[in-house]
């Protein structure tokens, strides 16, 4: 294969096909039946998946590392040369596969899940648009194209969280997600400006080359840019301090949570750091910040996950926590591991969410036929006999999340911690801290995972709603999706070695993977594996069979109870935020409304007509209807222009 034979043009088709699906579905959603709409909605991502496979195989056999397809030259303004271009390299190819693959499965699942919803067509339109935008984000050749995708997925996330917009709470959750994201996006935008200011280009390749040429004097600027980008990433990927929106985002349909708020969109920040690895491997300070923030987020979210009652909230906090792991890996420079964890996480978290969706769907209110919307795990229980398919697929995802071998989560999480331990020179170094926090998180992960499994599938049924076995058997699409994803989370770990060699060209020749010594590896493995097994058994025992006892213990012991309450109420961060940020902002808005809007703006708005009235009165004399007056006035204008021209000529340096 040579340069000319690579099917470059097809790259554009990857984002284009779902976009086409979006257009078709949104235009025809009132005309077509649900079945056709579902087919149409799934066709875009599925075809894109096929194209992505084809291109990935082509790229594998292609001598060059990356291929760029320039759609057209977009902005040409002085220094700024931007084109709407897509780059396919191993990293973006992998992400494309994940997005279109997992996306397609979730689309198929949605056919069953959204069956009968009156917004069926709208849902698939949004979902297709999201897929398209995510692919733009991933394939973008430069920062601005990436930013288009970045904003596009944010928009779709907003639309889908507030999908049931008649519910006020859900609308508010959507707004919260949007506003919080905006804070991050603002930093990201400033980062883009600064990057252009410093590098003179915005294409990733150009930035890579510019960094290679740059003097160390500019290191602080590199760090600043990297941190700005990371702030953007904290918004999109729900890291401290901008994680607040993700738990609320669970208001959307569950497949949306699976696709957007677990598998793809929230990993955009991780992908961005991978894409800018050239920047982050130089900006060591920023990398340390990334690692520490990631580790802190991981532990912090995990502790909150332990006490949640809502099945989706638990999974949401676990997502934040896992994202923390990814950032930890990225911050430590283990880019391959971070991306690998992203991939496996996409598999098992999607499986878990879809499983959760199936569980929610399985509970039907006795008096009415449709899903009760039950999400409280305390009211579930003993589900495994009734819904074995959900149970087994959920187990596969859950074991993977808890990083038990041989599930895929183990293969991606264990090396991250091992790398941190290997790199740790002293206990109080960044890497040491990261390892310590990561290990604690791993145990917490095990706890909340097994608590979840025990509460949902074991023990006695505690709720007043019944399980409708026919319901999930009826929707083959949901079952199919669950099986596919659970198989992926079971066997996804096998990709490890393939992936590290496949992705190597992306990080550049200067990047080396850390060799983990045998002793570190064994110590890490036995510590985590052993700890995990112990915690798993204990948690499972307590929550499956001694649930009433543990509730009583917590309630009676004030220390336990306060810990529990603190964690359950999410450390009151939302309330503190309300008090410290939202309230003053509201007060400021009121003041602005009173002083700026009523006084200044209204004054200007009312004053302008008066001004124009006076001006018109004064200028009426000029408009006397005589051609000569007009010509003379035109001439006066020309003379003024000429005067300036003459001035510049006479006083020009030439």
């Amino acid at each position: 294969m040579n340069e000319t034979t690579f099917p470059t043009m097809w790259i554009a088709f990857i984002p284009l096909l779902p976009l086409l699906g979006f257009l078709l579905v949104s235009l025809l959603r009132r005309k077509l039946s649900e079945k056709v709409l579902g087919l149409l909605g799934c066709a875009g991502p599925l075809l894109a998946f096929v194209v992505a496979i084809y291109l990935t195989v082509s790229l594998y056999r292609f001598p060059a590392d990356s291929v760029t397809y320039v759609l057209y030259s977009w902005i040409q303004s002085g220094n700024l040369q931007l084109s709407l271009a897509f780059t396919l390299d191993p990293l973006s190819a992998l992400l494309c596969l994940v997005i279109t693959g997992v996306g397609s499965v979730i689309h198929i699942y949605s056919i069953g899940y959204m069956h009968g919803d009156k917004g069926f067509g709208r849902y698939f339109a949004y979902l297709n648009l999201f897929t398209s935008m995510m692919l733009v984000l991933v394939l973008g050749e430069n920062l601005v194209v990436m930013f288009i995708g970045w904003e596009g997925v944010g928009l779709c996330s907003y639309l889908l969280i507030g999908f049931w917009y008649e519910d006020m709470e859900k609308s508010l959750a959507a707004q919260k997600a949007f506003v919080v994201n905006r804070v991050g996006d603002f930093a990201f935008l400033i980062g883009i400006f600064w990057a252009f200011f410093l590098f003179g280009t915005l294409s990733f390749e150009g930035i890579q080359q510019a960094i290679a040429r740059l003097d160390t004097f500019y290191l602080w600027q590199l760090n600043a840019i990297a941190i700005l980008f990371f702030i953007g990433a904290t918004g999109k990927s729900a890291q401290i301090p901008l994680y607040l929106w993700l738990p609320d985002a669970m208001a959307g349909p569950t497949p949306v949570s699976a696709l957007i708020h677990a598998a793809t969109m929230v990993t955009a920040g991780v992908y961005m750091i991978g894409r800018l690895s050239a920047l982050y491997s130089v900006a060591t300070f920023a990398s340390s910040v990334v690692a520490i923030v990631g580790a802190l987020t991981a532990l912090y979210a995990a502790t909150m996950g332990i006490t949640q009652r809502d099945i989706k909230k638990i999974l949401a906090y676990s997502t934040i926590s896992q994202l923390g792991y990814m950032f930890l890996a990225m911050g430590l420079g283990a880019y391959t591991l971070g991306i690998f964890h992203l991939t496996t996480h996409a598999f098992f978290k999607a499986a878990l969410f879809l499983g959760a969706g199936a569980v929610i769907h399985a509970y039907v209110r006795p008096d009415r036929g449709y899903p009760a919307g039950l999400q409280d795990t305390y009211k579930m229980g003993g589900l495994w006999r009734q819904t074995p398919l959900i149970f087994f697929t959920f187990i596969a995802g859950g074991f993977s999340l808890a990083a038990l071998p041989p599930f895929s989560g183990f293969f991606s999480k264990d090396p991250i911690l091992a790398t941190a331990l290997q790199k740790a020179q002293t206990p109080f170094s960044v890497e040491g801290l990261a390892w310590f926090l990561g290990t604690l998180t791993a145990f917490c992960t095990v706890i909340y995972t097994f608590r979840l499994i025990a509460l949902v599938f074991f023990g006695q049924p505690r709720g007043d709603v019944r399980v409708e076995p026919e319901h999930y058997h009826a929707s083959y699409t949901m079952g199919f999706a669950l099986v596919v994803l659970s198989l992926l989370s079971l066997f996804g770990g096998g990709l490890h070695h393939t992936l590290s060699s496949y992705l190597q060209p992306v990080w550049g020749s200067s990047h080396h993977t850390v060799e983990i010594s045998h002793s570190v590896h064994e110590f890490n493995f036995f510590l985590i594996f052993g700890g995990s097994v112990i915690f798993a058994v204990v948690t499972f025992y307590i929550f499956a069979w001694r649930f009433a006892w543990i509730q009583k213990v917590v309630r009676d012991n004030p220390w336990w109870w306060w810990l529990y309450f603190l964690s359950y109420r999410k450390y009151f961060v939302d309330e503190v935020c309300e008090l410290l940020i939202v309230k003053p902002l509201k007060r400021l808005s009121a003041a602005l409304l009173k002083w700026i809007d009523f006084f200044l703006i209204e004054g200007i708005v009312n004053g302008l007509p008066k001004l124009f009235l006076g001006w018109g009165w004064a200028m009426r004399a000029a408009q006397n209807g005589r051609v000569h007056t007009y010509a003379g006035l035109i001439l006066v204008g020309v003379l003024l222009g000429l005067l300036y021209l003459g001035y510049t000529i006479v006083y020009s340096p030439f």
Binding site: M619, R620, Q623, N624, G625, R626, V627, A631, L635
Partner: protein, 99 residues
């Protein structure tokens, strides 16, 4: 003699045309003054074309001629219509648009 002389001539013609536009009450002469202005510009363009041995100036003059021909046709048609309405070609009769 330097061809700059001809540029001065062009500027002078343009200014004379401007004077005509500003001062003539007769619309016909007013239109003629506009033609003079255009021709002044044409002269400058042809001079530049000669100075730089470049065809662009002369090509532009041809376009100016096309515009001038159209402008003359339309302008004279307007004068005819105006004359039919007001029985005059004096500009000060055209005051309907005053504010």
């Amino acid at each position: 003699m330097s061809p700059n002389f001809l540029l001065y001539i062009g500027a002078a013609l343009f200014s004379i045309g401007t004077f005509g536009v500003l001062s003539c009450r007769n619309t016909l002469i007013l239109l003629m003054s506009i033609e003079i202005m255009l021709t002044g510009v044409s002269l400058s363009l042809v001079t530049f074309s000669w100075i730089w041995a470049n065809s662009a100036g002369q090509i532009f003059v041809i376009f100016i001629m096309a515009v001038a021909a159209g402008e003359a046709a339309i302008g004279l048609a307007i004068i005819m219509a105006f004359y039919r309405l007001h029985k005059s070609v004096q500009t000060d009769k055209a005051e309907l648009m005053k504010g």
